[in-house]
């Protein structure tokens, strides 16, 4: 599964500068809104599902080499956060769905 199919299937909005998402293959998924837990549990090249939308999610994702963050519950990151994500080459995806169905769908799509 690549990031493009994931974006299409979950109807996610791309907040950062689009790139060739079909060439990005997320290898795992993780969900938590506690940043230290993410630091412990999330794997490199994975997708992180969270309702946090502030600047620090980009720092965490960059340190862990996370491919994309799916921001749920309609939480809106500010311009500065999006700019920072572009700079760090982290893809920010957005949905107004809660985390639970998003993770469920990811699991269904084979991201386990």
């Amino acid at each position: 599964m690549n990031l493009q199919t994931l974006i299409d299937e979950l109807h996610l909005k791309v907040l950062t500068t689009p790139k060739d998402f079909s060439s990005i293959q997320p290898s795992s998924g993780y969900t938590s809104d506690l940043l230290s837990c993410v630091m412990t549990g999330a794997e490199a090249k994975g997708v992180w599902v969270t309702l946090q939308a502030h600047m620090n999610i980009v720092a965490v994702a960059a340190l862990l080499d996370i491919s994309a963050i799916i921001i749920t519950e309609g939480a809106q990151p500010d311009e500065e956060t999006i700019a920072k994500a572009n700079e760090e080459e982290i893809t920010l995806l957005w949905t107004d769905q809660p985390s639970y169905p998003v993770v469920g769908k990811l699991w269904e799509m084979g991201l386990k």
Partner: protein, 341 residues
């Protein structure tokens, strides 16, 4: 000529606008002067079409501008030559068959301006002129492709050179003991810049040739310490990183308020963070345990009123990253985070 679909008639959707790639960004950064072909062969208006054909054959070109004195008056392309041949008029002057008022672009315009013409007008080349409208060269789609490739190559080389220089830093400088010291001042309550120091340290390590695994561990450890300074200190603090070829030593210190019970602070899930801080996703009580798991040595000294000193060491010569180090408290973390909520 080349593009068979009339792109100009296509409706540009929001989706297409959003799909701007890095290469497209380059179209705005690169200038026409950086990619064009200079020293273009120019034709004069009274040159015969026979001589034009001969020149195209010798020079292996398929078009050229027509210049009268200093003024650009037209361009002759293959299409014009075919019209001339069909009319059996090979000895006519170039001025009779040239395409008048050719499209020009200025030296300093971004490449995207040239691309717009290529998309909207069916032309194979554009004439490049100076501010005073004098001929400077021509630009083709091929020139733009080559310019792109050169620019991408250059960007790659710059990063590689940076890495190369950093990697050889320790070899090039002779001393009995060489080390590189990085200092970062962390401001209390500055959540916006929280994580900046740790990303910079991680990048520095990668440039210095550390393995991605080690850089990741160092990044995580410093991030947690950095956020502790942001969240818990009175006046912020300082991160001092000393990098030697075989190991790095990190010291994080602040002047208060200090930790009441150091043992408790090291317990996964224990946190003194306020509700406000927890709402931001901090205060899981995993900070210090996360640091401990990522480093090879950790000493924490603190008492109320005396501030906190955290000393960390990570080996750089041998990768001590183990599965244990990367995920020993994964199970714990899940249990404990349930407790903190």
């Amino acid at each position: 000529m080349e593009g068979s679909t009339p792109r100009s008639q296509k409706v540009i959707t929001d989706q297409m606008v959003e799909n701007i790639t890095k290469v497209e960004e380059l179209a705005y950064e690169l200038r026409v002067r950086e990619v064009m072909t200079k020293e273009t062969k120019a034709l004069s208006p009274d040159m015969t079409m026979r001589d034009v054909v001969e020149m195209f054959r010798v020079e292996r070109i398929s078009g050229a501008p027509v210049v009268d004195g200093k003024k650009i008056c037209g361009v002759v392309s293959m299409e014009d030559i075919i019209r001339c041949l069909l009319a059996n008029d090979i000895d006519a002057p170039a001025s009779k068959y040239m395409t008048k008022n050719p499209i020009t672009v200025k030296l300093n315009e971004p490449v995207v301006e040239a691309l717009k013409y290529f998309v909207n007008a069916k032309v194979g080349r554009l004439i490049v002129v100076s501010q005073d409208n004098e001929l400077e060269g021509i630009i083709t789609k091929g020139d733009i492709t080559r310019g792109y490739l050169r620019a991408l190559q250059r960007q790659n080389e710059e990063e590689e050179l940076r890495r190369y220089r950093a990697k050889h830093l320790f070899e090039d400088i002779e001393s009995d003991r060489t080390s590189l010291i990085l200092r970062y001042n962390i401001i209390a309550g500055d959540f916006r810049h929280g994580g900046a120091a740790s990303s910079n340290i991680k990048r520095a390590l990668l440039r210095l040739g550390a393995s991605p695994q080690i850089a990741r561990r160092a990044g995580i450890a410093v991030y947690e310490a950095e956020m502790n300074l942001v969240i818990h200190t009175t006046h912020g603090g300082i991160i001092r990183v000393e990098i030697e070829p075989h190991r790095m030593s990190i010291r994080i210190f602040d002047d208060g308020p200090g930790i009441e019970d150091v043992q408790k602070a090291l317990t996964p899930g224990f946190s003194t963070a306020t509700e406000q801080i927890r709402e931001l996703g901090f205060g899981a009580g995993m900070g210090l345990p996360n640091i401990q798991r990522c480093v090879d040595e950790m000493i924490l000294e603190s008492s109320p009123g005396n501030g906190t000193r955290l000393k960390l060491k990570i080996n750089l010569d041998k990768d001590t990253t183990t599965d244990e180090k990367l995920s020993p408290i994964k199970e714990n973390a899940k249990n404990e985070s349930a407790n903190t909520n």
